[in-house]
């Protein structure tokens, strides 16, 4: 008899909490949401069967509090915890605290998280599995002088990364000697602020690389499969913005080599459950080189594109594996069908250094169209809180070809009104329409090199129509009767068929 989670607690918030709770409902497993004071009215709270307040708005008092989350699990009888991504999802201490409390952690064992969470240990495992790695080192002597010496050994340009980090936080590219001292100081400061540990890792920068990652699934019965790649080269400050699968750069032979390398690494690490092996890809096609970057020991933000082309529900698979079930397919069964593109809708200002924005969602309407999936934790009347990351939603478009998926994404974004805060919607459209994106000629520096141009196009003067709409809204709000502007005045009749005719949604 397999162990059936009686009740799954979702130790997260926002769109990923909503996504996992929906999977629990689909599987008939009762779910428990946890929330901070800032999220008392958030969508994930209403969707779950039970919701438990775990603390104040600050993440340290709530979503990062191991004791508060385990208390909530004990009080509600939850016997499994899904960590989502971010927060405690890659925290080995949390996974082992779950193990000690007799709660199933839906993810890899604590020891595996710990091993792969250390960049040094992860690289050693990759080498042992025969997977190529980028030249780099973590100097034992962490003084600024010793880090500078390591930078010279590795060779410029270099990347400084917090040894304890992830998600691109605190990473600094340093192109030459002159920028070194200030860069070390800043990377150290961010590493300490974000992870409480200032240990830095020095790595060679691969020029014009693509970021291509492989999704793996490993069960408790020795089976490890790969679910192909995701290309995530459209990034800013190492935060992904657009992801897709298949990658325009991969050939079947390269895809197989990378997939098999990811599986070899997962086996060498004793991996369990869903994980992602990230690579840098230099060049395209059969002669390209790939280098191991890191393993993300959790569900990824961009997992839906894999789901759209493989037909596999990765959260269902995670729960089945955590129950001890064997993966029901073999590698040959898995195929990529069509193409999927995800864009991340962020509350941020593309015209002002992508500064995150917090504020109310005064008007928020998700488009519903063929080939469109939206994973969000937002709703009209809600707000984007200053306490958490500024992701509002993920819009995933699929189609039989890359171009159809791309066109569907653009059409959906053009019909996705989000008002009350600034968002990156117009920038996303400009990216998807850029000739280099259209042709698939992208690398991780795309936003850096094309950004100024894209942003200039994304921010335009207010057109006369918008000013007219604003004027009409003001006058309408004051006399509350239906009125229209312009010479034809046909709107005064307010015939629904008349008003619908011109809408090309």
């Amino acid at each position: 008899m397999e162990r059936q989670p009686r009740r799954i607690l979702i130790a997260n918030r926002g769109e990923i909490a909503v996504r996992v709770i929906r999977a629990c409902r689909e599987l008939g497993i009762p779910s428990v949401a946890v929330y901070s004071d800032a999220d008392a009215r958030a969508p994930h709270v209403f969707l779950a069967d039970i919701a438990v307040r775990i603390g104040e708005a600050s993440p340290a008092e709530s979503y990062l509090s191991i004791s508060a989350i385990l208390d909530a699990a004990r009080k509600t009888g939850a016997d499994a915890i899904h960590p989502g991504y971010g927060f405690l999802s890659e925290n080995a201490g949390f996974a082992s605290a779950c193990e000690r409390a007799g709660v199933t952690f839906i993810g890899p064992p604590a020891a595996v998280i710990e091993r792969l969470g250390s960049k040094i240990a992860a690289r050693a495992i990759a080498r042992q599995a025969g997977v190529p790695v980028v030249p780099g080192e973590t100097p034992a002597d962490q003084s600024a002088g010793a880090i500078a010496a390591a930078a010279r050994r590795v060779g410029f340009p270099i990347l400084l990364k917090p040894s304890a980090g992830g998600g691109g936080i605190g990473m600094k590219t340093i192109r030459d000697e002159r920028a070194l001292a200030a860069g070390i100081e800043q990377a150290r400061r961010e590493a300490i602020a974000a992870f409480g540990d200032g240990t830095l890792y020095v790595e060679r920068v691969i020029e014009r690389p693509r970021h291509v990652e492989i999704q793996v699934l490993a069960d408790n019965h020795g089976d490890v499969l790969y679910l192909f790649e995701r290309e995530c080269s459209i990034q800013r400050r190492h935060q992904k913005v657009v992801e897709e699968t298949p990658s325009p750069a991969l050939t079947p032979a390269l895809r197989r080599r990378m997939g098999e390398a990811a599986v070899a690494l997962a086996r060498a690490a004793g991996y369990r459950n869903a994980g992602t092996v990230e690579f840098l890809l230099e060049g395209t096609g059969d002669r390209a080189s790939f280098y191991f970057l890191e393993v993300n020991t959790r569900l990824q933000v961009e997992h839906p594109v894999t789901e759209r082309v493989t037909g596999v529900d990765l959260v269902h698979a995670q729960i089945a594996i955590a129950r001890g079930e064997p993966i029901p397919w073999d590698q040959e069964w898995l195929t990529q069908r069509g193409h999927a593109i995800e864009v991340r809708v962020y509350a941020e200002d593309p015209a002002n250094h992508d500064l995150p924005q917090a504020g109310p969602l005064l008007l928020y309407r998700e488009p519903s169209m063929p080939g469109i999936r939206i994973d969000s934790g937002a709703s009209e009347g809600g707000e984007v809180s200053v306490h958490y990351d500024p992701l509002i939603a993920k819009l995933i478009a699929d189609g039989e070809t890359r171009d159809i998926a791309r066109r569907r994404a653009i059409e959906a974004l053009r019909n996705y009104p989000i008002l009350g805060i600034r968002t990156n919607l117009s920038l996303l459209i400009e990216i998807l329409e850029h000739p280099r994106f259209v042709s698939g000629d992208i690398d991780t520096r795309f936003l850096e090199s094309e950004g100024a141009n894209l942003r200039a196009r994304a921010s335009s003067d207010v057109p006369a129509e918008a000013i007219e709409v604003a004027a009409l809204l003001r006058s309408h709000a004051t006399d509350s009767s239906r009125r229209s502007t312009g010479s034809e005045g046909g709107g005064a009749k307010a015939d629904p068929w008349d008003t619908l005719r011109g809408y090309r949604g």
């Binding site: 936080i169 400061r189 602020a193 974000a194 200002d349 593309p350 015209a351 002002n352 250094h353 500064l355 995150p356 924005q357 917090a358 005064l362 008007l363 309407r365 200053v386 500024p390 653009i410 974004l413 053009r414 019909n415 996705y416 009104p417 989000i418 008002l419 009350g420 600034r422 968002t423 919607l425 117009s426 921010s459 335009s460 003067d461 207010v462 057109p463 129509e465 918008a466 000013i467 007219e468 709409v469 604003a470 004027a471 009409l472 809204l473 003001r474 309408h476 004051t478 229209s484 502007t485 312009g486 010479s487 034809e488 005045g489 046909g490 709107g491 011109g502 809408y503 090309r504 949604g505």
Partner: protein, 123 residues
Amino acid sequence: MVEVLGHGRFRVDSRLAYAVKDRQRVWVFLEGRSYLVEGGDRGDDIRAHSTDDQMALSAPMPATVIAIAATPGQEVAAGDLLVMLEAMKMELPIRAPRGGRVKALACREGELVQPGVPLVEME
């Protein structure tokens, strides 16, 4: 031709627009772009700017000042770092929007600053 469809929706010629009031301002969404329209009740008084055009010298949200890179009297070029803030787990650089002289600094390292409050005055 602009027409009220109700529920925040407007018809503009053959296109659909959305709009919502935000105190004295109006947000408008049209074909994938949003605009913040400011001003009084009359259309001809309206002062408008794109939502992307925001004052760069104040924090966009509550944030902590982690470093001050400029000094009063200093000549800076467009794009020069003036103040480094931290919020939402990220460093947020406040840079000079144009060349000029720094007139005054209105924040200290370690200070929690509120949105919209000027951090640096330039002349």
